[in-house]
Symmetry: C2
């Protein structure tokens, strides 16, 4: 055991040896594969051991038990910190898994992957995201508590539990973590504790070159409860004071009106004799000599690798297993009592936990009559949201654009501590309308955290252009198969006067490039309703709605040759066919440009050219249809095709083919009213007509 360890009085030598075993497993695992991040896993072993053996309300035998505390390793590169505790506590990982670190097919990939390894609550690695996820989990915990058990006093409900996260220097340099942390304080998330592993080392070594701020001071200014546990004794020595950390965690848990921040000052790679405290210990194998020397420091046999004393493993697994089993059993008892006392809420809990929508859930979905003047799809989306009033699992808001994104369900309370209510927004801690502030990036990672925590269905709105600010969490939602929904309004130059900084040009193509994300751009109000219905019926994919600021005509569904809007669920469909059903040319359009295709069809008909108009609100849904359906919409025999979308052409060549034309916008927009912009940039029926003739 390292001389530096200071453990609680009731811990045994086996606990101390388990901690040192964890350090050496980290060093060995990285050494074996030849790459990875040993240093943090070594120095954080005492903290991680405390959490997984004594602190977290969790049960290794039941890693998805609803009553558990959540643990987020935002510093995902230190995946071994987590894997080794999962191994020691008995979550299903074995020594062979640790030996297979970072190799094909292993349960121990380079970064923790949600859904891949039991006990991993979120996929981390891109820095800062885990902090946002943890904030989202803490918000979800409060909302779920409000749905299922609003009346029990704080701390006494079976739905009260805590979110713990570990963040590195890098996590706290990333802006997304500051965004999320600021909001966490506004929200008074007393159920959240963030441990900051302040080792002052990143890949470029000493952080003095780039990160000299007073991080704890920043968190105080943000409004967190802040403590510092300094294992470095202000640089004079090193004491891994687990007792002090435990006390800080206790204190953090006792503060219920603020999230808690614990700055834990550590020496990375401790106790590696020459590489501790250096950037070299961060992201590379230590080298055989250093690993052996570390083993000698710890009293382990330097000639052995992956050495685990069976007595240690027996101790850690029985300790964590027995503790966890009792925690869950007690909880289950209370849970059953709650179920009996609250049958309606229990039914809601069961339904939401499975992400099942109730029978007839979409009965109130609005529909619109044909209307040439029409309605903006953002407004149609708002009407759809109002129809979900009685589906409390659907909740969300905007990154300070509620009135523009039309994301508010009228009459529903804001999700806000009572003392944060304003003239415009009333609400309470269990409210429904989210206010993210001007923080698109944190919004994305918070939505992920909400989905990871439980079965609710969160949505978040901003302008489509600012999807660029939130791409990292959108990608992670897709990677994790989370059903987040993005309400991206102001989806083209049609937003008008705000100009090129606000007009999305390349965003649709760039978003469609993300595997596993559905990008949906409805052509009218009724397609918007179908879009919401279709995306909510999915459980395992994120969806982004691209909605207009400006009014769009509502097509006369089921008459005058127009197809029913329900066809939009197939992603692409014949909105209005060529006279006679044998098109000379196919016009494929999305969103606000579908109306141009419809008008061009009439113009072409006047010249004796028969055009089919295909509305393609979602390429991903269309691609998922069978060959026969796709062939029926886009018959291979019709090579004359035109795509119409006010964005870059990239992504359309696949559908229009060698003889097709794209009516697209491959440069930036300008500041003017929308009618002028469409005209000036060539989004007119005439240009579509001309392109169709060129294609023939």
């Amino acid at each position: 055991m390292t001389s530096s360890l200071k453990l609680p009085a009731d811990w045994s030598d086996l606990d101390a040896k388990a901690i040192d075993t964890a350090r050496l497993l980290a060093a060995d695992a990285v050494q074996k594969v030849g790459n990875g991040h040993p240093g943090t896993a070594m120095s954080l072993a005492p903290a991680a051991y405390l959490l997984f053996q004594q602190y977290l309300k969790s049960n290794p035998a039941s890693p998805t038990w609803a009553g558990r505390d959540r643990f987020v390793l935002s510093a995902g590169h230190s995946s071994l910190t987590l894997y080794i505790q999962l191994f020691l506590a008995g979550y299903g990982l074995e020594l062979e898994d640790l030996k297979a670190l970072r190799t094909w097919g292993s349960r121990t990939p380079g970064h923790p992957e949600y859904g891949h390894t039991d006990g991993v609550e979120t996929t981390t690695g891109p820095l800062g995201q885990g902090v946002g996820n943890a904030v989202g989990m803490a918000m979800a915990a409060r909302r779920e508590r409000g749905l299922f058990d609003p009346d029990t006093p704080t701390g006494e409900s079976i739905f009260d539990h805590h979110i713990y996260a570990i963040a590195s220097d890098g996590d706290l340099e990333e802006g997304v973590s500051n965004e999320a942390s600021s909001l966490a304080a506004t929200q008074r998330l007393g159920n959240l504790t963030l441990i900051y592993d302040q080792n002052a080392i990143s890949i470029e070594d000493d952080v003095d070159i780039a990160f000299t701020e007073d991080v704890a001071g920043r968190y105080e200014a943000l409004g967190w409860h802040v403590q510092t546990v300094d294992w470095t004794n202000n640089g004079t020595g090193y004491t891994e004071d687990v007792v002090a950390l435990q006390a800080a965690l206790d204190e953090a848990r006792s503060v219920t009106d603020k999230p808690s921040f614990i700055a834990l000052k550590t020496v990375i790679g401790w106790p590696a004799p020459t590489l501790r405290g250096t950037g070299k210990a961060h992201g590379a194998a230590l080298g055989e000599e250093e690993v052996a020397a570390t083993k000698e420091v710890l009293g382990f046999d330097p000639s052995k690798t992956f050495e685990v004393d069976p007595a240690v493993l027996e101790h850690t697994r029985s300790q964590a297993g027995e503790r966890g089993a009792k925690l869950e059993a007690d909880w289950q008892l209370a849970f059953e009592q709650w179920r009996t006392a609250n049958p309606d809420r229990a039914a809601l809990f069961d339904r939401i936990s499975k992400r099942e929508l109730p029978e007839g859930w979409d009965a109130e979905l609005p529909s619109w009559d044909a209307d040439e003047k029409g309605i903006a799809t953002r407004k149609a989306s708002s009407a759809v949201l109002q129809s979900f009033k009685n589906l409390p699992e659907i909740w969300g808001g905007s990154a300070d654009l509620a009135e523009s994104n039309n994301t508010t369900i009228e009459g529903e309370p804001s999700f806000l501590p009572s003392d944060r209510q304003t003239k415009m927004w009333s609400g309470g801690p269990f409210g429904r309308t989210l206010h993210f502030g001007v923080r698109e990036h944190a919004m994305g990672s918070i939505l992920n955290g909400i989905c990871l925590h439980g079965g609710t269905r969160p949505y978040g709105g901003t302008f489509l252009i600012f999807s660029d600010y939130m791409r990292p969490p959108v990608r992670l939602a897709a990677l994790m198969n989370l059903p987040t929904t993005y309400v991206w309004t102001h989806d083209s130059i049609g937003l008008g006067e705000d100009g090129p900084t606000h007009q999305p040009i390349e965003q649709l193509a760039a978003l469609r490039a993300i595997p596993g994300l559905d990008v949906i751009r409805p052509a009218d109000a009724n397609e918007t309703a179908v879009a919401w219905r279709t995306l909510l019926a999915q459980n395992n994919r994120p969806s982004g709605l691209a909605l207009t600021r400006q009014n769009l005509p509502v097509f006369p569904r089921g008459t005058e040759g127009f197809a029913e809007a329900s066809e939009a669920a197939k992603g692409g469909y014949t909105l209005i066919d060529a006279e006679g059903g044998e098109p000379d040319v196919i016009l494929i359009a999305t969103g606000s440009e579908v109306q141009l295709a419809v008008k061009a069809r009439t113009q072409l008909a006047a010249e004796g050219i028969q055009a089919r108009v295909v509305s393609m609100p979602c390429m991903e849904w269309f691609d998922a249809q069978d060959d026969a359906y796709r062939e029926s919409v886009l018959p291979n025999s019709v090579r004359a095709r035109v795509s119409v979308e006010a964005g870059v052409a990239e992504g359309w060549y696949r559908l229009v083919g060698d003889f097709g034309k794209t009516v697209s916008l491959d440069h930036y927009g300008a500041s003017a009213d929308q009618a002028t912009l469409f005209e000036k940039f060539g989004f007119t029926p005439e240009r579509v007509t001309a392109a169709a003739k060129e294609s023939l």
Copy 2:
């Protein structure tokens, strides 16, 4: 004049009237077009007037004079704050321009656009970006000072000037501003002053719902010099105390070892009688009644619009004009003295100011002999950078991945205050190697600020996957025609063990979608050198290099049928042709996949199929070639084509056409060594060969 104005004793009634005129022009301009942001422009009028009439070292007649202070309106939605001062000071905007606000072809677009309106130093609107730009400008000012005049004491050089920025609540909610501000303090940017318009209102009204932190406290914790100027008198009344603001600006300028933060507490929309202090004053026209009522408050004729007393305009233009002319004339005198005393530095100044590279600048560019084992393109890029040692305008660094991105020019000092040097990094305030910390987003906006400030050529590195974190400033670089360079390494599943969170799949397609950005993925070391040479020869476009972590073979250039690497400057070229020059099939590949196409060509030849291999390092450069050249590389007659790139297929259909095949990766990666990943995901010569046969 509003009773609340407290002006310096030597200001006249005309100054007071000018300020009120500015407020009403803002209200009128938004009212006329029917949309826009009047409120902040009204309440910030006194502060903006102080800056443009009395404070900034600037000359309306000479808006790009090198010695000027820079002004950044990070709160770009309040473009009128800037436009109206440019009008009053005489930068060329006239009343007609203000009347044309937010209309087609005007010089007053919705958000300020760099290169479009004289006096606009950067394009802003996407919140937070201006803060990063300002930090970049302040860094550039110091670097340029070090290049041209390193020995003059601080404050006495003609290259000493100041950067001022105005930020809104929304700017400071965005994570990018925190990233940039943290780095600004580490860098001790004493030449930077940020005025925070703390009006506590954003689009969703009172920021209490989302932004309750102690912002000034946060900036203190970041390490800034912080002052508060409270015009609201702690809520007890309203005094627009310009004297106090001026004193705070003086104090800020006197602090040279820290950037300065001035929290200016204002009431948005002041003095509009009913809408001031509300979200309604932020982003919509006030309405005719409210505008008229405001005019009455200010003693203006409510029946008139765009009223500017000729005496006011005469006063403001002569005051700003005379002051500016004198400032510049004095500077020019000193500048000429400096030129005479420093002829070499003056020559360097002239060259860099024009972004001209010296004759023979690329003479030391490395080249590599054929080598099957090869070298990673990130390492080749490093060798190229070393050859730029004597081109001091080329400078840059990494977002904490220097050793991975290979972005360091050996032996060059870090750009660091002396007291921030570490064991690993020595340097000084005029150094060359940048350390951004784990802050990709701020890195992007800082690179923009550096380019906006002067003629240096900055680069910044991170992993390609984290281009997602920095998309907003990359887009803005393209929109502003700034020649930033991004060194994006670890460009595919070839990075191996870090797994799907780190493996770019869709990033190449998503970046290629950005209009005006060149995305360059070299196939070997020699293409990497040509890529750098080509991108540096461009002055008006950002470029992103996608470079490998893993070794790539160096092709035998000029022998065995392989083309010279210099052909890569055309974006796409025949690397090795079909035997006889009449290909049956064309294999188009980029980066690490070109070697697969070369091997497939041999396999196909063994079966009697003649394949041409086209290396396509940069689609944008290829598209810029003339038709004849493109036809010579990809003859229309050859329809059998295969693209090979370890990323999504989107973007390739245009080149491979209806009969082509894409060898692509349309799902996420995995954690394993790179050889296994290429094999498991089908990036093998055999798959390319099979695709070629299918295409025939």
